[in-house]
Structures are given as structure tokens and as C-alpha cells.
Symmetry: C2
Subunit: 456 residues, 2 copies
């Protein structure tokens, strides 16, 4: 489309320094004249750039280059879609985990809100209210699909991501990890092929390995998310059964797919007959503007199984996730009865009480700028103190930065060295099988950005 | 062994009415003379019968026939070890569950302590204490293997079943179901053969089906548990990878293996090189005497993976189980990271606080006679009101009765009929694939025995 080409050109020019951060872009009318295209094409191009957080609209003033283009995000070492392979990553990850769960450490590895980024007072109030008003109920078993009131309140929340689902379509799970595991079980049989973004959250890789599935690595842009051409190529070559996609703020890169790409992904899935398993766990943690749409919002063919949780946005101690599985729902419930029976009662009742209290939006409004600020400070430190040649992503949501070090540095060596100084981060290798040796993921979830000089 | 033969003979005589319930048995010395065996052989025979709850010792008075031999437990329809088969039981079970979770029903189907059989006050006190003293900690994520203090306290509890394990050997799980699922995943690959008691808890069958394993049904005696000859035959015939065994109060039959059989099971496993996955979830709920030993207590070769939970003995709302996996521990932790990451924090902290309070033994001392009394009343009703030819088990622990109806009655038809009258129980078919059409499981967990006339 013409507007996409114009947006791409403009983006390139901005990156090349034609327009600097904070500078005003040409008015829609003037650019329309200069490029000899319609006003609406320019508007569409600007809106696309805005959606991708490169530029921002200011009321009655026009469009400006975003403030955050200080460091140009870079593609990680380019990933080709390798032959589908079985994984053996779990030893590695269990080992890293066993050696990093230590209170003495400074944690840039934990992608979970610590106490000060959780609504402690409100959660305590809700806890007390549950104990006072619903106490004996907290002692009763809750089996799959979970407590109706919580399912109702979560269905309400999904509206913000553009999903209109009924409470009956929601199954409460033991965190997003169980949601993902059940989704894979429902869709795939051992030996089946699952496409993942590369890099992707290591929990996906653990689940794929555990179920005896094979992985197909698809390149993903650290800023714009899944490379759809690479996915289409892979899907033509191999019988992909499912694709796990974190369209909103990929973990570890923070990449964000725009609405157009989201629609196109679903068309691609339709053409190639695979299921999209969406991980939307960071969807509520956009830094500015409105919440990005979930893939599920564009799903008219029941192609998307939606997974999320309250672990990142509210509290990881609850271990509450959920899955909207559409046609696969009854299989998900059967699998959950086999897997864990269901989730504990108290966390469900607490979450329902908290969601009903109406504090959640206020809490999110508080932490979003906090995370944004953390990342900006961290990026400054990276720019000023990391070795020449370091590249880093600048996510528009969440609290993670994906860093590519200069060629001479191996992130796994650095990991050992840092740990010897009681500093932890996650080396790139846990996010993909054989790539990302120079990469690392830094988490700035709890204002730790202030100490990040110590990280190298 | 001679004492076993004597015990078997005596048991037969008791069943045939030679000695009636409550009557005193011959003194050790006189029987020794009459049978021309040593005193110690008679003592061993009496102790075996006592362990199996047929007779009881009274201080300074001798041995008496137990009061509960009113209805003779009967073998359920004899199960042959059929060719190993894949299961398709989950639809059936999910369907039954979906249609029985209704507050309007009288529940003889739920094998879970309801409010009045949980230590409500103490749990509330502990809950409040956790919120007051450990509050922000409840918000933090707990990943596998779980919170150290709870692991320590559970390791202490395992001593009562004769297991000496260190806290580090315990992995906290989302109920016993996840413990079992992870154990099967650690030991088996898709297509492998798993031996189960027939009948057995339907959750085992769900897990086996979900993992693509094949089941080998082994006959189990409703009173004495797993038929070791049948298991040995099956193990010679097929390459069994694991055997799931509920040695202490089988669900649904209530069968209890004696220590000799437990030892022999482990020898058998050693000879045939399979792993024993022990479900000891009802082990603490013996009605009288001391807690029966767990299989794990006799395990000197790391052949047993021990699974249990607090759901039956304390509160199902916590959804807290655990697994002692020995050589398989690191695999279990890896699998759990993939499966659910771990369990919610609040239930773990609450359970630890409760266990530390020292109330658990008092609570168990309160509910054990309650369950025993429930079962006795229920058995009287069954004897007096169920059709001629009905057989029922008389477990020495737990709160379940396994009933075999006369031949003309199909339990699934009765299930539909009862449900139309808002009464629920579990039909026998959910405890085994093609057997037990005349059987049903009745649960008398919360004094519901008083209404059990309405059940037929």
C-alpha cells in the first residue's frame, strides 16, 4: 500500500537524522503536496508511524518525532528459519534459575513486578475483605474452568484489547504458562511443528520441549514483531500446526506488531491452516496512548487461542492466568482436569474482589510511566556506559530491554562474570536455541534501572 | 509364610461367623497350643489381622473381632489384565463433572472435605496472620520447587508415614494431580505402558490419556489393595514403565495394603524394573490406630515417586500438593517450569503458617472418627435399604464406599435417575474403562450419610 511505503521512507529518513527527536514533521497538507499523494494517504502514513511509536501527534500542533529514538533499535543477529528441531533447553534454563534465585543478587533477570510495583494497599484491603466476607468459600475446591465471578470480570477487561468474549469462554489457569501449555496440548500432538518468534519467551520453548513438539524459529523484528514473510516461507515449507506470537511487547525484545500486521498474520494463518496461540501478558503495560489491540480482536475464524495472566500487570504471587480457546475450549478443560484440576480458590477470589474494587486502571496508570521512565534511564546508561557497538531496543511497553553486545563479547561469559558480582540478567541463549550468544535481556521492573551501571 | 496362612484361615473363619464382631479371639498361648505353632507365629498372625483392621487389640485383655464386619466386602467384578490400551475417558468425565457442579444437588460425588470438615477457625487465624506478618511476600512469585519453609514442614509431616526425606527433596505442586502428572512425564514417553489398580482414581486415567500413554489394568482387592500376582503376570507379559498405586485407602475402594504387601510390591518393581508412583493423599485419614506406612517408607532403591496433597486432609481450596521424586527430581522441576512455573504464594504461606501452628494433628484427630462414623451409618443404611445382593466395602480410612449393585442394575442408569432427583454420586465407569458398570462410589465426607436413603 502507498501509505506504508511512505511511512517506511519517512522512518528511514528519521533514522538517518533528517528529522531529530522532538522535531516537528511537515504538516499533512504540505507533505501531501510535496509527495504528490492525497491528504488521506499522508494521514494514514503518519497514523501508522504513530501506532509504531516513531512519531507522536500533539493536539492542534501536528506530528513530532518521538523522544525516544536516541539509540536505534537493531535487528538481533538475523535468524533464518532453520529446519524444525526438537529442543533441549530445559536443563540449561533450570540451571540458570537454580543459581539466580538469591536475595543477595541485584536482579535484572526477573520480569515480574516486585512489591513496590504492585498495588499493595489495595491488594491487602481486598485480601482482608475476602477473608471477612467470603471466608469459608476460600476453603472450597475450584475445578476447571474456574470461579464464575472472576471469569466475568476478566471478560470485561478483555474489552480494552478489543476482545468481546463471554465469561463462559474464559478458563482460569495456573498462570499464563499453564494457559500456553494447555493450548499447545489442545492443538498439537507429539512431533508436530510449532512456529515461534526468535527470540521468544523461554517458557514457550520449555513447553514445546516438554510436549515433544518441534520448533520452527521465525525471525522477529525487535521493534515491529514477527516477520510475516519469514513465517509465510516457513509455512509453505513445513506443516506448521501452531504459531505462538506475542504481538504486544515481545518478551525479550519488546517488539510491537501494528494492527495491519496483526490482521495479516491471521490471514496468513488462515491461508496456511495453523492456529495462532497469542500471549498477551504485557498487553496492558503500554507506556503511552491506548492499549494495543490483541490478535484475538481481529479473529473472525476462531484461529486465535488467547492466553494472558495477571502476573505482570498485577501480582505474580497470585499465579492466575486465563485462556480464551474458542473451538478448543472443551479440550482445554479436559486437559486442565488432567494437568492440575484447576487453580487455588483464594487467589481467584482475591483477584475478583480486587478487579471489582475498580483500582486496577488507576494502578496501571501509575506503573506505566514508572516502567517507561525506568527504561529511558536504563537506555541512557546503556548508551553512555556500555561498550561501543552495543545495540538496544526501545520498547513502547513493558519493562524489558534486549541488548546486543559488540561481537567480541559473549553474553554467557558476561553472565558468569556478573553473577560473581551478585548481578543477574538473562543471557540471550535462553530465548532461542542456538542464536543470541551476544544478546542479553535486562529487566527494569522495579526501578532497578538506577543501579544498572553495575550491570557491566 | 506360616503366620500369613494362619491369618488368612482365621479371617475366613471370622467371615464365616465362627467369631462374631466384638467377640474375643483365643489367647495367643491357647491358639499356639491348638495349632501347634510357636507363640511368635500366632502373634505375627494377630498383628497382621490387626493391621488389616479385622481384629483389634485391647490393652491387657487380648484380641477382639472388629466391630465393622457387618457386610462382607466383596471383590468388584473381577478384572483381568487386558491388553494395554489407549484411553478415551476424558470426554465422559468432563461431561459428568460439568453436570454435577450444582449447589442444588446432594453430593455423594465429591471426595473433598466441605467447610465443616476443615479447621475453619484455625485456617482463618493463620490466613490473618499471614496477611499481617508476611503480607508483601504473598505478592511475590514462587517458582518450582516452592517455598522452603513449607517444604521443610511437609518433610516433617512425612515422618508419620515412615519417610525420612529432606526439605530439598520436596517439590510443591498444584495439587496431587499436578504431582502425578509431572511424575508420569518424568518417567514415561508417549506410548509407554502404565499399570493402574482397577478400579483407580479417575484423575490417573485422565493424566494417562492426556500424555498419550497406555494403561494396563491390574486387579485390586477392595480390602487388601493391589493384586501382586496379577501385577507380576502383567509385568512379565508387557514392558510396564510405571505403576501408580494408592496403597493407603484406594480411591474408590478404600483398600489398604499391609506392610508385607508394600515391601513385596517394591521387590516386584525392582525385579521388573518399573517405577512405582505412590498416591498417598488419604494416608493421614486412617480411622483408628496409627497412620499406615507409605510405600516410600520401604523404598531403598529410589523406585518410588511419592505424591500427596493437603486437599483431602486439610483444605481443597489451597490446591497444594507435593512430590518426592528422588532421582527424578530435577526432571520434575524442569517439567513444572514448563507446566505451570509453580504454585501461588498465598496458599503456600498459609499452609506453612497453619502447619507451624501445630493444629493439624488435633484437626485430624477430630475428623478421623467423624469419617469413621459417617461410613458406619452409611453402611447400615446400605445394608438395610439397598436392594438384596448389594455389596459394599468397609474402608479403614477415608470417607469413600465402593458399592456393587445387584446384576440387574446399571449404575449409569441409576446415576441419571438420581441426578433427576438432585442427587449425585460417581458411577463406576469413571474409575476404569470398561468395567464397573454395576458399581458406584459414594462419598460421605461431610456427614451426608444421614441422607443416603435418598440415594436410591
Amino acid at each position: 500500500m502507498k501509505y506504508q511505503a511512505i511511512a517506511r521512507d519517512l522512518k528511514q529518513k528519521i533514522d538517518q537524522g533528517l528529522f531529530r527527536p522532538g522535531e516537528r514533521l511537515p504538516s499533512v497538507r504540505s507533505l501531501s503536496g510535496r509527495l504528490d499523494v492525497s491528504v488521506s494517504t499522508v494521514v494514514a502514513a503518519y497514523q501508522l508511524l504513530e501506532q509504531e511509536r516513531h512519531i507522536e501527534a500533539r493536539a492542534k500542533s501536528g506530528f513530532y518525532v518521538g523522544p525516544k529514538s536516541l539509540i536505534r533499535p537493531t535487528l538481533p543477529p538475523k535468524v533464518k528459519s532453520l529446519r524444525p528441531a526438537r529442543l533441549s533447553i530445559s536443563d540449561h534454563i533450570a540451571d540458570i534459575f537454580a543459581n539466580t534465585r538469591n536475595d543477595q543478587y541485584t536482579h535484572f533477570d526477573l520480569a515480574l513486578p516486585q512489591r513496590e510495583c504492585q498495588p499493595q494497599t489495595a491488594l491487602k484491603t481486598s485480601s482482608n475483605r475476602v477473608l471477612r466476607q467470603q471466608f469459608p468459600q476460600t476453603l472450597l475446591m475450584s475445578t476447571s474452568p474456574g470461579i464464575p465471578e472472576l471469569r466475568r470480570l476478566l471478560a470485561q477487561r478483555l474489552l480494552s484489547g478489543g476482545c468481546l468474549v463471554s465469561p463462559e469462554q474464559i478458563v482460569i489457569t495456573n498462570g499464563c504458562q499453564e494457559a500456553l501449555m494447555l493450548s499447545l496440548q489442545a492443538v498439537c500432538s507429539p512431533g508436530d511443528l510449532v512456529a515461534v518468534e526468535s527470540p521468544c519467551y523461554y517458557g514457550f520453548l520449555l513447553a514445546i520441549e516438554s510436549l515433544g513438539l518441534k520448533v520452527v524459529n521465525i525471525a522477529t523484528d525487535p521493534q515491529h514483531g514477527l516477520d510475516l514473510n519469514a513465517l509465510e516461507d516457513a509455512a509453505k515449507q513445513w506443516p506448521i500446526k501452531a504459531c505462538i506470537c506475542t504481538a504486544n511487547f515481545n518478551n525479550p525484545t519488546g517488539g510491537l506488531m501494528n494492527d495491519e500486521s496483526k490482521r495479516e498474520l491471521l490471514n496468513l494463518a488462515e491461508r496456511n491452516n495453523f492456529v495462532v496461540i497469542e500471549d498477551d501478558i504485557l498487553g496492558e503495560l503500554h507506556h503511552e496512548g491506548s492499549r494495543p489491540s490483541s490478535l484475538k480482536a481481529f479473529d473472525h475464524q476462531e484461529r486465535v487461542i488467547y492466553c494472558s495472566s495477571l502476573s505482570k500487570s498485577l501480582s505474580p504471587g497470585l499465579r492466575l492466568g486465563w485462556v480464551v480457546a474458542g473451538a478448543y475450549q472443551s479440550q482445554i478443560i479436559e486437559r486442565q482436569l488432567a494437568n492440575s484440576s484447576g487453580t487455588a480458590s483464594f487467589p481467584q477470589l482475591l483477584a475478583a474482589e480486587y478487579l471489582k474494587s475498580g483500582h486496577f486502571d488507576k494502578h496501571l496508570a501509575r506503573v506505566r510511566p514508572l516502567y517507561q521512565n525506568n527504561l529511558e534511564r536504563a537506555l541512557n546508561v546503556i548508551q553512555n556506559s556500555f561498550p561501543e557497538g552495543t545495540r538496544a531496543t526501545q520498547p513502547a511497553g513493558g519493562f524489558l530491554i534486549w541488548v546486543a553486545l559488540p561481537k567480541k563479547i559473549n553474553a554467557l561469559d558476561l553472565f558468569e562474570l556478573a553473577r560473581a558480582h551478585n548481578i543477574c540478567f538473562l543471557p540471550g541463549v535462553v530465548f532461542g536455541r542456538q542464536h543470541f550468544k551476544r544478546c542479553l535481556r535486562l529487566s527494569f521492573v522495579s526501578g532497578a534501572g538506577v543501579c544498572c551501571n553495575r550491570a557491566v
